[in-house]
Amino acid sequence: MEVNEQIAIDHGLKKEEFVKICDLLKRTPNLTELGIFSAMWNEHCSYKSSRIHLKKLNTKGKKVIQGPGENAGVIDIEDDDAIVFKIESHNHPSFIEPYQGAATGVGGIMRDVFTMGARPIANLNSIHFGSPQHPKTKNLLRGVVKGIGGYGNCMGIPTVGGQTSFDESYNGNILVNAMTLGLVNKNKIFYSKAVGINKPVIYVGSKTGRDGIHGASMASAIFDEKIDEKKPTVQVGDPFTEKLLLEACLELMAGKSIISIQDMGAAGLTSSSIEMASKGNLGIELNLNKVPCREEKMSPYEIMLSESQERMLIVLENGKEADAKKIFDKWNLDFAVIGKTTNTKKIELFFDNKKVAEIPINILAENAPVYNRKWKKTKLPQKIKFKKDDFKKLKIAEVLKKILSLPNISSKEWIWEQYDHTVMGDTIQKPGSDAGVVRVHGTSKAVATSVDSSAIYCNAHPLTGGKQVVCESWRNLISCGSKPIAITNCLNFGNPEKEKNMGEFVECVEGINEASKFLDYPVVSGNVSFYNETKDKGIKPTPAIGGVGLIKDYKKMVTMNLKNSGNLILVIGKTEGHIDQSIFAINILNEKKGPPPVVNLFNEKNNGETILKLINEDLVNSAHDVSLGGIITAVSKMAIKGKKGFELNKPKVLINKFDYYFGEDQGRYIIEIEAKNLSKVQKILKDNSVHYDEIGLVTEKDVIIDKEPIIHIDDLIKSNKYWLEDYMDK
């Protein structure tokens, strides 16, 4: 088939990109070559719309061993231990085929982590669905949860945390972001840069099939009514093979035969081989007849573009092939020498003794298009003048119960009970907490991890929203007594060709960067997912931030459940009563306009560090950050988890009690302390200039708010517990 402009456009390339390809090659590419270009130059692989903005991100820090640009980021957690981690989106495939889409998302991110030599120790996910009333939501949610569980459970890696939200902006584009943390010795990290010529290039893992061809291009396009036709572009997961691949790779990595290793993720053999060669400034030659294939008569085009899962590409030291093959034979996995590194700086493909493609690597990688797209700033919305008289009709207890039972606030136990969260025997804080915490096996250390996003704030004002979500991640890690170290981000946005969407991206990234710099909380890995749009309707900007923190002595870890009646409850950080964009404003007052709460990075840092001081002095019995639903929702969640009651009395401040209790001002925590420690706590707070309110105490079972009639804690438990279960199973 002769390649022409129309075929290039059918491959998702723009007309001018096709012209550029022909110019760079000084000829028209053949079909295989065009396929390779389309795979390397799509948004998903080339980051062409995001690259210039991502460059600005704060990616350096004392604890950073590897920042963005590798399979995953790596941070130092002392004693030669390092954590490898990354979050990645699998949004488009999960909407088309929720089970396989989500499953292979989890499989893909785990491969990114163990490719670097790390054994995965924790999984998390951030999943977002359309309105609960939308006819597709229930099945999508069921499929995604089953898919995430199906893959992670079989691999034997605990899923320790996550986040689920519902919003009508996801009706046509759900979000499925999967995150994995792995543990590695910092002196034994593996990278993807190929070194040396004439080194054997090895293919290991599953055989190559026709699944997932053009998956990366599909993930770089908007959806229309023909979406079901895209099903064949979704990959099929095989967690059993991945488990074998994990064990086989780690076994091979224990020796010294690997020069570089790269998993075959998006754009399969194409991007993995080109990335390895490009990073090493080498060429690569592949004989496609040697690639283990699952189906007959696969063409070079199909072999290069397949996104079959559970495959790896390895550059080995010469002469180590036989030893390496033994390991893969033991695990019953394919092992084939399919090519070698060269000094040509070209990718050269052979099939049936003919050269079927020849492209200089720099054209594909460095010369890939980069766009500085037009974007529009989002103005900070005006504050809403709420009619405080309307509040008089409201009863705090009723509002609280309603908020606790909202889809975005209620318990997500129905979801996380389907994930194995205790395998590996080191999970010391389970899902449903501020952060998941796993011990570093055999040591006194533990890592805390959480994933957060705040699409409502980001939608109202992307710059503030970007900052806020980093701060929320930081607070979640602080709340369990860990020192936050670094983040990974999954940037889910609409169509970058629209100025508004592009502006949301640019400003969210700016916000993330500002907070990340101020908090010394660098970004070490991440992924961008654009084109989350269906028939002109895009999602709310949803950057998801995955954070990792270190607890040096896990015996000092703090949990959020209230412990003992008689203990005091304090709010740390100043309450201004900001209710615009709050759960209270949106769901109770039905007011969706206004600015998100202000983020004060100085207070954020100071308050967080002071909480850590209190925890280190053993003064904190429980802690939880204040986020959606404000102070009273935060205290209620601590009470629900601890099966305790509480008594609150609003301090004498000039703030309406609804604003006080439901406002979503940032930088705040709730802590429980013993009465005898009050003066010590007060001193530390004052010495560090941290504002605090003493608002109440823990009771056995009664919930009393400002002397109003008593509610039993079981009522709050019931309000919070059943929404999702009822929605899914009844």
Partner: protein, 227 residues
């Protein structure tokens, strides 16, 4: 005391079991499914996981694997064989234990803490155990124990029901049955009580920083009884 944990491709609780056995004093060895024989052992453990991916019926391929012949011989000669979760499924597939483990009644994988009551203490596993009700952890998709009426009669007649799901006070009620298992069965013995298969994972509950440490009672007692 010597123990051996068999690793099948797809096993994923093998390390957890190894850690637990060693913690309580066993000299444990890991045995690969293709190894020709099992080293001399006082206890053989089939760990949890997804042997061979469990793409066919759970445990069915492991039940026909090379190593399993030695496990069956060892069991038939009176040796102690413990199967946890997938290990329990494998034991029913080999016929060493009666019945089958069907998909959970609510058709979902379920991972949570449960209470189980020990029904029979006249055996090496539970003799002298210091607690009647243990808080353990389940994590499975196929733990819904089922058997024929004759098999159930035989289980009852021979006191083979080992542990049953209950609440913290030991009440065995349908509402405390997480997966639909017949008679709330969480684990059963062979007739001679040398083989125990159970869905809950004692190896995940072995120190106070985890959500329970009742697994300690199980392992401490087991090694004591083997001495």
């Amino acid at each position: 005391m010597k123990s051996s944990v068999i690793i099948f491709p797809g096993s994923n609780c093998d390390r957890d079991m190894d850690v637990a056995l060693k913690k309580f004093g066993f000299k444990n060895q890991m045995v690969w499914h293709n190894d020709p024989e099992i080293p001399k052992s006082d206890l053989i453990v089939l760990p949890g996981g997804f042997s061979y991916g469990d793409y066919l019926r759970c445990g069915s391929i492991a039940g026909k694997s090379k190593i399993i012949k030695s496990v069956i011989e060892f069991a038939n000669s009176g040796g102690l064989v413990l199967g946890i979760c997938n290990g329990f499924q494998i034991l029913t597939e080999t016929g060493l234990l009666p019945g089958v483990l069907l998909q959970n009644k609510y058709q979902k994988f379920i991972c949570k803490n449960v209470y189980v009551k020990i029904n029979n203490k006249e055996n090496k596993y539970f003799k002298n155990i210091k607690k009647e009700i243990l808080e353990l952890h389940i994590a499975h998709n196929e733990g819904n124990y089922f058997c024929t009426e004759e098999e159930m009669k035989s289980l009852n007649d021979n006191d083979q029901i080992a542990v049953t799901y209950c609440n913290e006070k030991g009440k065995e009620d349908e509402q405390f049955n997480p997966n639909g298992a017949l008679k709330n069965i969480a684990g059963i013995f062979s007739k001679k009580k040398n083989i125990l298969g159970m869905m809950p994972h004692p190896e995940r509950m072995i120190d106070k920083y985890l959500s329970s440490n009742d697994g300690n009672f199980f392992f401490e007692n087991l090694i004591e009884n083997l001495k």
